[in-house]
């Protein structure tokens, strides 16, 4: 390799030729401690903290001063909140506090499992239809068909076909959410495959599978993460709705939806039965949405600096 030959080159004398590239790297390393992160992304911090608290509550439910959430005590039914019954008791005398705390398990499991299942399935469908032209039309029309049914109706219909169980609730809600993920991934894949770096990889002899794996999948993860949080928030609400109308989690398993459903008829007598699970549901969904908004801003490709 000739080291340097600016003189020999056919650059007109009037064109100013800049000097060689200096080998200087700025010694700046942007420091960001925990506090820096919190200040930069307050929504992620607040949402994440709330979710963490909810997760801890769900995991350590038996140790949080709870009693058996299904234990009946007809003599002490419909008590208002007191020192013994923090959230009061329901019409069968069950402790609402224990039921709400145990109910967080159902909501969190459904939220996490639905977003995982929907993202995995949606990712596969989205990649296939974004990358294989002839499959695109077929898969996307099926997705359109699924999307044309309101997700809550679809979930109710699917639940009507099966027995009520947490697993079936997860499956039913996931099926309704898959098309949204598939569309998102397909859109990202379609825009990515026109990117010069993908064309350069084709020109460099990279096989199609490797192009998908190295150049396309990693670049879909950021929008997918954001979408996953929104899906888990809406899955929690859908689960509550399903349980509320009696099509979801079976009554023996306490979930925020069926606690509210059971307290509905008596809410003028003992509003605490509905109030507390509603507060927990709202807070959790708010936290997940805050996290999603924060991630959306933090993962914005225009602001992407360190991923």
């Amino acid at each position: 390799m000739t080291a340097s030959s600016s003189q020999e080159l056919a650059i007109a004398p009037e064109v100013a030729v800049a000097p060689e590239l200096p080998e200087i790297w700025p010694p700046v390393r942007r420091r960001r401690g925990f506090l820096g992160f919190v200040l930069k992304h307050p929504t992620i911090a607040i949402g994440g903290l709330l979710i963490l608290v909810m997760a801890l509550i769900a995991v350590f439910a038996p140790y949080l001063g709870t009693v058996d959430p299904t234990a009946l005590a007809p003599a002490r039914r419909l008590r208002p909140p007191s020192r013994d019954y923090w959230f009061g008791t329901d019409m069968l005398g069950r402790d609402v506090y224990s039921r709400v705390i145990y109910g967080s398990r159902v909501s969190l499991i459904v939220g996490i499992a639905v977003s995982a299942v929907a993202c995995a399935l949606g990712m596969m469908i989205g990649l296939l239809s974004g990358f294989i032209r002839w499959l695109d039309a077929i898969l996307m029309r099926v997705m359109d068909g699924v999307m044309s049914i309101p997700s809550i109706l679809l979930a109710i219909a699917l639940m009507a076909l099966t027995r009520g169980s947490v697993r079936n609730v997860i499956i039913a809600i996931s099926i309704a959410e898959v098309p949204r993920v598939a569309r998102l991934v397909r859109g990202v894949v379609l825009s990515l495959r026109e990117q010069p770096f993908v064309e350069a990889a084709v020109a460099a002899g990279t096989r199609r599978f490797m192009i998908l794996w190295r150049h396309i999948v990693p670049n879909t993860l950021a929008p997918l993460t954001v979408q996953a949080t929104y899906i888990s928030a809406s899955a929690m609400i859908t689960e509550a709705i399903l349980s509320f109308i009696g099509a979801g989690t079976p009554p023996i398993i306490p979930s925020w939806g069926n606690i509210m459903a059971e307290g509905r008829a008596l809410w003028e007598v003992t509003p605490s039965i509905v109030f507390f699970p509603a507060i927990f549901l709202s807070l959790t969904v708010l936290a997940v949405n805050l996290l999603g908004d924060g991630l959306r801003d933090a993962l914005d490709p225009r602001l992407m600096r360190r991923i």
């Binding site: 390799m1 000739t2 030959s5 600016s6 080159l9 056919a10 650059i11 007109a12 009037e14 064109v15 100013a16 030729v17 800049a18 060689e20 590239l21 080998e23 790297w25 990117q195 010069p196 770096f197 064309e199 350069a200 990889a201 084709v202 020109a203 460099a204 002899g205 990279t206 096989r207 190295r214 150049h215 990693p218 670049n219 490709p301 992407m304 600096r305 991923i307």
Partner: protein
């Protein structure tokens, strides 16, 4: 192997009589969005019967306005878009209809540098991973050490610091990114380099650095370069031959000096008159074209340029001018020999 940087693979002996790249009557039509009921699908004639040849170690510049199809020519040659018709010969072998599997080994011999130094590098890969990809694809280095050595030579060739390897593209400036793009193109040791507006997105001083680098590399590696550009001032310093495109067709092709000294086609003359001259007192006569480039959906009949040509007559509206010889190695697609001084 380490003594000769980059040129480590045995080059196939130049076959007698073949230019490295030959393009014959290349056509690429893009369908417009089909009518709802499948009626009247229209075609954008992006490239319409373009022919040229490129010798080893030479630079052919393809110039024209944006939208004239010059990038599509480059992308068709690389088979990044499928040509509609015509022939593409790499070293005498047809590649226009090869299946992707048969084509893949040949891709090593022709590489591309893109315009946009930001979107042409995957933001999630490190420079090492970017440069290793073509080397691994074509099995050009046995073992980790050979791969490292090869990549180190590539960095040296494009004059990037060694510590660039573990960084990601966003940590570099536009000019440095373009160097990474060039290094990636050189990684499989190609014979043909397609530079698709490779310096158009860079500012003037960085542009000069990159042009110097490209000229150096071409000389030391014996690369054939297809240099696609809209910038005649850049092309003048780099190209051996220049082909001028207008609305999907080549209207004039000539050796560099001949094109600038005696442009034949009225369109070429208008283009040349628009090149800025860094001398405020130089006598200048700008030929200002009226109107816009017609849509490639409905190209005008006859000579494509007649709608804007100051010399157009009835014949130009009816008869398509053929490329004809107007000097040594100089062809032009105009019916007339319009005197230069006119």
């Amino acid at each position: 192997m380490s003594e000769t940087p980059l040129a480590s693979l045995p080059k196939p002996a130049p076959t007698e009589g073949h230019p490295l790249l030959e393009v014959r009557k290349l056509r690429k039509f893009f369908p417009t969005r089909a009518h709802t009921f499948g009626l009247r699908r229209q075609w954008v004639r992006a490239v319409d019967e373009v022919s040229f040849a490129l010798e080893r170690g030479k630079t052919l510049a393809l110039v024209g306005e944006s939208g004239c199809g010059k990038s599509t020519v480059g992308r068709s040659i690389l088979r990044l878009v499928e040509p509609t018709g015509g022939e593409i010969l790499l070293d005498g072998a047809h590649i226009e209809a090869l299946s992707e599997r048969r084509l893949r080994p040949l891709r090593r011999r022709m590489q591309v540098v893109f315009q946009d130094p930001f979107s042409s590098l995957n933001p999630r890969l490190t420079v090492y991973e970017i440069l290793a990809e073509p080397i691994r694809n074509f099995g050009l280095a046995q073992g980790r050490e050979a791969e490292r050595a090869r990549i180190a030579r590539l960095l040296e060739a494009v004059r990037l610091p060694r510590d660039a390897l573990s960084r990601r593209p966003h940590e570099f400036s536009g000019g440095q990114r373009q160097r990474i793009g060039i290094a990636r193109a050189l990684a499989p040791d190609p014979e043909l380099l397609v530079c698709d507006e490779a310096v158009a997105a860079l500012d003037v001083s960085v542009k000069a650095q990159i042009l110097n680098l490209l000229a150096d590399l071409q000389e030391s590696l014996g690369l054939a370069v297809l240099f696609i550009s809209h910038d005649l001032a850049v092309v003048e310093h780099l190209a051996h031959r220049i082909a001028v495109m207008y609305l999907g067709r080549i209207v004039e092709e000539a050796p560099n000096e001949a094109l600038f000294a005696a442009p034949h086609h009225p369109y070429t003359r208008a283009l040349l008159s628009a090149v800025p001259v860094p001398d405020p007192f130089a006598p200048r006569r700008r030929i200002v074209l009226k109107g816009d480039v017609p849509s490639p959906l409905h190209p005008p009949p006859g000579c494509h340029f007649h709608t804007r040509c100051p010399y157009a007559v009835a014949r130009c509206r009816e008869e398509v001018p053929k490329l004809r010889s107007v000097g040594p190695g100089h062809v032009s697609a105009c019916h007339f020999d319009i005197p230069l001084a006119s």
